[in-house]
Symmetry: C3
Subunit: 495 residues, 3 copies
């Protein structure tokens, strides 16, 4: 079973032909990945990937949550228990279980990404199922031993131009230093400023006082930076200092997964709450005010140091208590909730929303805000941009609804372009492929309905796929020979 060259294009013949033309313009563009969660050691160590089950199934909570929703438990899938309970260790057994249930994923993005990866990356042109499980396992296992399937070889083969990982301020940036030290004959360096692999400053675990171990992490930040983080000023100074380290490791953005988009701008009150939090004395609403205030502090730092802010609130973390207790965080137990932006962001936008030195990219899991809040905000504040549809919405239907809901109010040029947001390195090309096709399909409809010319649509497609993410995530001018020139010359240059 090969991939159909017209996949994800509209069925109508005329529109499909237009979609093909538009999409064609983007197929050779490098992949820009300014927001993701690949482990940087994968790249710095460049070891072979483990077996197929551990590569594809065990760490992918899109897959394990769907299987679990139909009764296949995490330990049957080899997800490591935080309580030390036994879990399946045999890769082939896990793979077979997965393959037997592959029909559950019919029509889902997970299946689309996997089918692409099996075919385009690993050269398997069959349908996974109980009957082909072993054949897939053997084929994949064999490939994974080859040098061409080492992470850095795949990185280049995938035509990735830049990949951002995500680190906490207390994480080591050593893998990025190691990447920077890799000798390069010609071309760009693997790590550091302007490198192929860069970091992202994600301070969530330092600003949520309810997250177990918060106080210890604040102390650790002090040790790393030599600042006295037992005071609020010292805490801020430490974060500022650490941002410089991240910038040296290539960071151009920060990333914030606050529970809500609430912001709050009162440094004196924030200092008071910070000190109460260190003493474990927070009451009621104060638990939410420290992260809310810290968003404003991080915006202030962004104005100073130029890092672009990313905010993706609205996920109720660890909603599934049983999963959390048994298998910990990030195993598919988070559930979205309604999320306000209009009111919640006002304090931050009052302070910085019109500041030419500030940029914030808003994501959401609550698609009701696309047309109601996020598009009007991005179309009315110079600092606000719209992030790609995220997580549960990172899907063909989700992306289509996203474009339909935001573009008429905010245009295409207030959207930040696609981000793959993935831990699953091998799925990166598949995810960009889906996004480029869905955008081509949407633009083709506008052309077919005479709402845009084909040449306008082709330019927009290139901007969405390449120029806008480079510009809005602060990646600067093209590092490689310019693949395209479609962003209008009148367009303000990135700072």
């Amino acid at each position: 079973m090969g991939l159909h060259p017209d996949r994800l294009f509209p069925a109508d013949e005329r529109t499909r032909a237009i979609a093909r033309e538009i999409h064609q313009r983007t197929t050779d563009l490098p992949l820009v990945s300014p927001h993701g969660h690949v482990d940087p050691r994968l790249m710095s160590q460049n070891r072979p990937f483990p077996d197929p089950a551990r590569l594809f199934v065990v760490p992918d909570h899109y897959l394990t949550r769907m299987l679990y929703s139909q009764g296949v438990t995490p330990d049957e899938l080899g997800v490591p228990s935080v309580k030390g309970e036994p879990s399946e260790v045999d890769g082939r057994t896990i793979w077979r279980r997965f393959a037997e249930h592959y029909h559950l994923f019919r029509g889902t993005p997970s299946k689309m990404w996997l089918d692409y990866t099996f075919a385009e990356v690993f050269g398997i042109y069959k349908q996974l199922g109980a009957d082909t499980a072993d054949e897939f396992y053997d084929h994949l296992s064999a490939r994974l031993t080859e040098p061409a399937y080492r992470p850095r070889a795949l990185f280049d083969r995938f035509n990735i131009e830049v990949l951002a990982t995500t680190e906490s301020p207390i994480d080591s940036l050593e893998p990025h230093a190691a990447l920077e030290a890799i000798p390069t004959a010609n071309g760009r360096r693997w790590g550091g400023r302007g490198g192929k692999v860069i970091t992202t400053f994600r301070p969530d675990n330092l600003v949520e006082p309810d997250w177990p171990g918060w106080k210890e992490r604040v102390e650790q930040l002090g040790e790393i930076t030599g600042e006295d983080t037992s005071t609020f000023d010292g805490f801020l100074a430490a974060l500022r200092k650490r941002r410089q380290d991240f910038i040296a490791a290539g960071a151009t953005t920060t990333d914030h997964g606050n529970r809500t988009a609430l912001t709050f701008d009162d440094p004196a009150k924030a200092a008071e709450i910070f000190h109460k939090a260190l003493k474990g004395d927070l009451e009621g609403r104060e638990h939410r005010l420290l992260p809310a205030h810290m968003l404003v502090e991080f915006a202030r730092m962004s104005v100073e140091d130029g890092l672009v802010m990313q905010l993706h609130p609205g996920s109720e973390r660890n909603h599934n208590q049983w999963l959390y207790e048994g298998w910990g965080r990030d195993v598919g137990g988070d559930i979205p909730d309604a999320t306000n932006y209009t009111w919640a962001l006002k304090p931050l936008l009052d302070a910085f929303g019109n500041n030419p030195r500030f940029k914030i990219v808003l994501y959401t899991l609550d698609e009701t805000v696309f047309s109601r809040e996020i598009a009007p905000l991005a179309g009315g504040y110079s600092s606000v941009f719209i992030g790609a549809p995220w997580w549960f919405l990172d899907s063909p239907e989700g992306m289509r609804r996203f474009r339909e809901a935001v573009h008429e109010t905010a245009g295409f040029y207030n959207t930040a372009g696609f981000v793959d947001d993935t831990r699953a390195f091998c799925s990166i090309p598949a995810r960009h492929d889906v996004a480029r096709r869905v955008d081509a399909a949407y633009l083709a409809r506008l052309v077919a309905e005479h709402r845009m010319t084909e040449s306008e649509a082709a330019e927009v497609a290139v901007d969405l796929a390449y120029n806008l993410p480079r510009k809005i995530y602060g990646l600067g001018p093209h590092p490689s020979p310019r693949p395209t020139d479609s962003l209008r010359s009148s367009f303000p240059k990135p700072e």
Copy 2:
């Protein structure tokens, strides 16, 4: 005017051809109706239906509310007044009023269901209107006197495999006993466990202390069961006992139309509130806590006795005060409101969401939760399934948006299949016809866009129409020669 064989299929020729193929696979499948509101006496007594107005117009609040919204009052339509005010009694007059306003229903599901029923059930191939009102009335009246139009004859002609009615714990189950007693030469019995007509346990009027007459109904429950329902333990014991009676009358599910999805798990507090409620002493939030706690109690009972829970919150009952005062409940005066599931259900899911013996089907009138809450919950808890789009959303556009919003996150196999949810017995085939066509159309688009193969889509169509409702509503293995085998063999068998 006949029904077009391609109705509800996409206009695009290629996609339409695929939709026809997919739909063809479902046309001979029996109708499974695990959630509905047909009066069981209709079946047990098997009397002829009344005149066309009383069959089609008077009891159908989809119709009377639309007519009322354009100024035709309930008494002009013969809806019985609760105050004893006079209302139209002449069936033909009511029918003519309805026919004159039939254009109001253009493009609505109500019109689609009626046109189907007129054509396919009654053999009238014209357009209803002022000019044809009498012709319809005479034709329909004549048919209704024929034995072939008695309820049980239609039931078999409609190819209904199983039809669930809905009763309160204080309702008599005598009609179901009478159905069970009907002699059958061969084939299945009409009533009782595994029968053609089964009941559903719906305790709403026993758990909402604000519903007039609540205390008396609680006492009545005590009389029926011989339990002391003046204590909370006795109340629970009575409900448990009554569930066994319902199970004997064929019930496989319970049904809960709480105002919100709020759940609350504190038996001691609940007992205290129950006692205050009996004394009429509830204050503030306590009014909502008894129904909220009872959801958790019913979940606990479901784990014990295996009944599948159904929850459909979010309707503000009797919003139209004037309609309620004049014509009572269920006459079209309810209005939906925003409804939370993520937070509201957490206590119930903490207790039972991962219990392999528990199943809950969630419905909503607030389509914003499809992608944001319900699909993530169903795709992340083994106990949660997604109910069909309900009431105002039980329409071609509503069903399409439903599939588009949930399938990419929860897949098809966490959706429970179509339920017709109707009081209008004659509309049952029409409603299933619409659902099967809309699902075929959606699947055809996925095939045309190369997101699924045609054989996968055909299997999914059969599963949605037949296998999933049987499995998820606890109806067990096929009672009749198996019409299909498309649920994957690896699929867990219903308990």
Copy 3:
């Protein structure tokens, strides 16, 4: 570049052919504009329009907000500063800046309206851009000096049948009197009852006590009407009296842009709050209760005097504080927020929702309420009608989603028809053109899917474009030779 005759029609050839047929039925219908914000002096003075920049760019906040969102500041665009800061005065410079950024509007309604206006009104068949900016400017400037481009000449050329402006009770109605005094040889008068240009009663700045200058405006209302507006009864009497003046100036509707849809029916409490507000003593929730109560008072007045009420809540005014401080109100700084109708409107609907003498048209910026609240309300109360998708939703995709979300529950006949809602006089034909095409496209899909016959769809299209706005906004029987008869004869006549 001419306008494509099939613009906005579906790409599928069969559906497109149907859309053409349906649309054809509406192309000669006069434009009915019962809700808009054109300055009446434009019509009464009938002076030439200013230069192209001041006609098209400076006053259109759809344009200035998008440009600002990409860093072009209001003063660079000549938007007058409220602080007296210098701003660009050269029309050609402003125009060039706009033209250079015209790509930002690709695929947006703003661009569609402008391209239509350039082509159909001004005869320019090119694409605006940096290279053609001067050519456009010169061409437009030349046209604007011609008598055929004076406002009243355009009014007739646009085939506008009636245009409602919007005035506050303290505004002068002198422009409307002047219009009424214009001699007409034959045909209808320009102003006054039944005139071509009528007014609308919009009391927002008299009911929001937090709006700066509120108390002074209440006093001014007293002076205008000779009532003692220092008492609540006098305030209400003054408003009643003023409504009569508005009715004499042609008004058939009132317009209410409350922050929320909250209503509240307690005259004694309202009087108390009104007096506290005059003293500047409002506390907490009281700030919101005066406007909430006034909605019920205005409904009461509507029952008396027959004015149709329009309510469009949900906009957080002046969200962008920096814009507001620098350039004042209505410059693109408002942002929508989630808005409740089900609960919020209940007091008003309890009082008047079933009153045959009352009509209220509901608009929203929160599209989640279309299917959940507004369609069920309009389909269940005789007084409630659904307003056209408004502002950010007045776009092809917004209109399509609107139809898809409301029509199956409320039908087409509870929707009030299109309103252009614009300050931009020259864009009126363009906006109606888009609306008629999008409705034709939607209806064509229903026909292509065999959910409606083509003749039904053609009737509905005419009703949506012409008959429904005349009926629901109280404009009465056709003033000109009846262009069509498609509203069913059984349809209740407008009072």
